[in-house]
Symmetry: C2
Subunit: 492 residues, 2 copies
């Protein structure tokens, strides 16, 4: 697959200059249009050392308006980065709509090098590549334009280039021992890269293999490819797309939720006793998790007035304030709106040993956004898989994940709305929106059923809380969370 | 000063319940009004362990709408936090307008404990306290409401409280060795705290000393104080304030800028040779700084078309892309707008060994915001001191700071505007705004003069670049930046 890129294509200065000016103008105009469009551009550079990755990034920064370009290059993860799933740092750096993000030594570099040096086996390599595919797929589905460049040199060409750099006293610092070590492993490197490229060369995130031996040829190839892709993407986005048809489907009419025994209750003395005990148990487990650097994410979803706030406060009170944080999920800020909907949840992921409590969560995509039409059907339809994958990453990193659905019956909700309306200091909790949501109970119920069905797994089950009795609900929340942590502690 | 808080004030359950409901309602209503107002609230809790700091924070979260409350508690800084000035983590966590931020173990805790255990001397303690004062002053000037609570117990009271916690099997985990160690140092602790409180008890950031022995009394005191302060602040913000009069002042008509020799130039061969040399020199120094964990901030200001972009690209190209980042400063996002204007610059501060290049910077406050009236006179007037203090923190942390002013004459600017207008691929760089700014050359010039005068110091001088000749300017930028790094490397 690299043969064409080893033919030593060249282009004369005259031909370059003639093509360059036109291309440069066209790119500037496209960048203007991109700013008005609502998608980001992700350009990733990988390849042979010395084949012009950095030079290409610099050229793009020179030709285009750098105010709308974000350049990122990666080295070994910092401590804080290591404390989160490996894609956390890429998520943080993703460009927003209208921006072009240039990534050097991005998500392919480390898996490829690990494979070359035998630090991971084929199966693990494939696992990581598939994970990359999922990541790119999710961004592309959200509208991102993704371009991947493999900057190529053959083994002789790389040697020549490294020697030339070494001979230049002004550039010799660019060549280190590791570069020569990589060069000696040229064949394994190219084999691993070839495998990676074949496995991840998909229509929404194409690889372009660039002959890196001639600077002018290489530059034109990269910029022309960027140009063409921008033209195509802008045209596609402009063409009115017919709303994607969802496959004919039967919405689940019932789920395990329907089987809950909603009459369960605890009397006050039992509650008081159990609360003390459950909280102490949770506190001990949380301290142990902190000591062992295990972090947790607990999220709370549920009907309006189901008691999320009260449950969260009781959980939080059992924990050391330095090691837990409650994040209420409200309307997104403009930065958040200019990113993938999962971006703002990645943002807050807890450090090692810390617990993050989400008051509402990414499941909003499958609940309010679905029912109210804020997300299009194809958007929320693919969110099931996106969310499952996101949670897999948390679990794979060793985090505890506890997902609570606080359930109440419509009758109980009505009672609580009435109470909120009549108790002065509770009135603020009741808004017109609550009544409007209540009117759509059936639509929400269908969405909840489907969410619970499709996003429960053995590793990340929904914990359903019978919430008609607040005492019962709170004890069950605290005990379930404690159990999730206990299971995790037992595992390692 | 703690005597009154040791009288053991109590309040009966009946009196508490009667007062509580009214207070709770009033606070909820105030919180509503706060959301509409354009200032944040910062509530800091310090004091004797066991005196109810955490409990107060939990109560505020229970009584008020937690969606507009941010709670933060601190332990020892993480690696990434240690790599920035010590206030970085507090800046990151500051509440935005409309929010209430609750801070536990905040910026007072560590200096006080350090003093108690002799890790810092009196002079250093005072230095840190003054630094805190400056921090709080800056936030208050920007409209923040700041409340500080010292939760108090006398030595006997604390012992009793710790013993009680220890005796309770459900709460004994809250008491550790360090708590008893602190208790044995009670007197030094109270002495250091008393000193800190006296030194930092100022009208815009008052301390309230709270008798922590009775839970009901303590809770009412905290919440009533918060209530009263909110009422006052909201009323004050509503009252139309007359524009603050600036002291009669003579704007500087000239500065060192006027003395620049704007005819300096480099011919092309000299430039090419010098560029190679200067870049190699900078590259070597930057790698050395990276190896030693020294980070740098380079900022670029200058007239429109003065050549900032070109200079930045040439600096960036000399540096390892993994260790530097260019941040163009554009219009603030809505999150940024809801914070102090320095917040967004704190946000990006580089990790150890990294270089951050700002294309425009916090000096916008003293330039465009001043001239265009985006900042009120009293706002930009106090910004000189705020900025000097901010930069002091960077320097104190050991960072390299290089501030470039790219200077051109009005004639040269006119020439460049014309050129941009006529060269197709440069046209995007020229906007109507550039012409409008040009028309205000005199006002901008006065602002520049004053900025250079008032924010240059031996440690953070403005580096003035004679920019009429681009070759000369670029070489001087690269060499000056290299010199700044060299000086820093020589120091340690």
């Amino acid at each position: 697959m690299f043969e064409t890129a080893e033919l030593g294509a060249k282009i004369s200065r005259e031909a370059f200059d003639a093509a360059a000016e036109k291309l440069r103008l066209a790119l500037l105009a496209l960048q203007d249009r991109l700013r008005e469009a609502n998608f980001p551009v992700i350009v990733l550079f990988a390849g042979v050392d010395g084949a012009g990755k950095t030079e290409s990034v610099n050229l793009i920064n020179e030709w285009l308006d750098p105010h709308w370009i974000v350049t990122r290059a990666y080295e070994d993860p910092s401590q804080e980065e290591s404390e989160r799933p490996s894609f956390w740092r890429y998520w943080r750096d993703l460009p927003k709509s209208g921006q072009i993000g240039l990534f050097l030594s991005g998500w392919y570099s480390r898996p490829i090098l690990w494979r070359v040096y035998g630090e991971i086996a084929d199966a693990d390599f494939n696992y990581r590549l598939d994970h990359i595919k999922t990541f790119e797929r999710l961004l592309a589905d959200d509208g991102a334009l993704i371009l991947k460049f493999w900057m190529h040199l053959d083994k002789k060409g790389q040697k020549k280039r490294l020697k030339a750099l070494e001979a230049d006293p002004l550039q010799s610092w660019k060549v280190g021992k590791q570069d020569w070590r990589n060069w000696r492993h040229y064949k394994s490197f190219i084999d691993a890269a070839g495998h990676a490229i074949r496995r991840t060369d998909v229509s929404h995130a194409r690889w372009t293999i660039v002959d890196g031996s001639d600077e002018r040829h290489r530059s034109l190839t990269v910029l022309q490819t960027l140009h063409d892709a921008l033209v195509r993407q802008l045209a596609e986005r402009q063409a009115k797309k017919p709303a994607a048809k969802l496959k004919a489907r039967t919405a689940p009419k019932a789920s395990v939720l329907s089987a809950l025994d909603m009459t369960q209750a605890l009397d006050k003395p039992t509650y008081e006793r159990d609360l003390q005990e459950a909280r102490a148990d949770l506190a001990v487990l949380a301290r142990e998790a902190h000591a062992r650097g295990i972090s947790s994410v607990a999220l709370f979803e549920g009907w309006d007035a189901a008691g999320k706030g009260g449950a969260i406060r009781r959980v939080a009170a059992a924990l050391d304030a330095r090691h837990r944080q409650v994040v209420p999920v409200a309307a997104p800020t403009d930065e958040e709106k200019a990113h993938h909907y999962l971006w703002r949840f990645w943002r807050h992921l807890p450090r090692a040993g810390h617990m993050l409590i989400y008051d509402r969560s990414w499941y909003g995509r499958l609940l309010v956004e679905r029912v109210e039409g804020f997300a299009r059907p194809e958007e929320w339809e693919r969110a099931y898989a996106e969310i499952n994958d996101f949670e897999d990453q948390l679990l794979h990193h060793g985090m505890v994940l506890a997902k609570f659905w606080l359930h109440i019956t419509p009758e109980e909700q009505y009672k609580r709305f009435q109470e909120r309306d009549s108790v002065a200091y509770k009135k603020w909790k009741l808004t017109d929106e609550d009544w409007r949501n209540r009117a759509k109970w059936d639509a929400y119920e269908a969405a909840v059923h489907e969410m619970v069905e499709r996003t429960s797994s053995a590793a990340a089950p929904w914990i359903l809380i019978e919430g008609n009795d607040k005492n019962f609900a709170r004890i069950k929340v605290i005990r379930s969370l404690a159990d999730r942590i206990r299971q995790r502690l037992a595992r390692s």
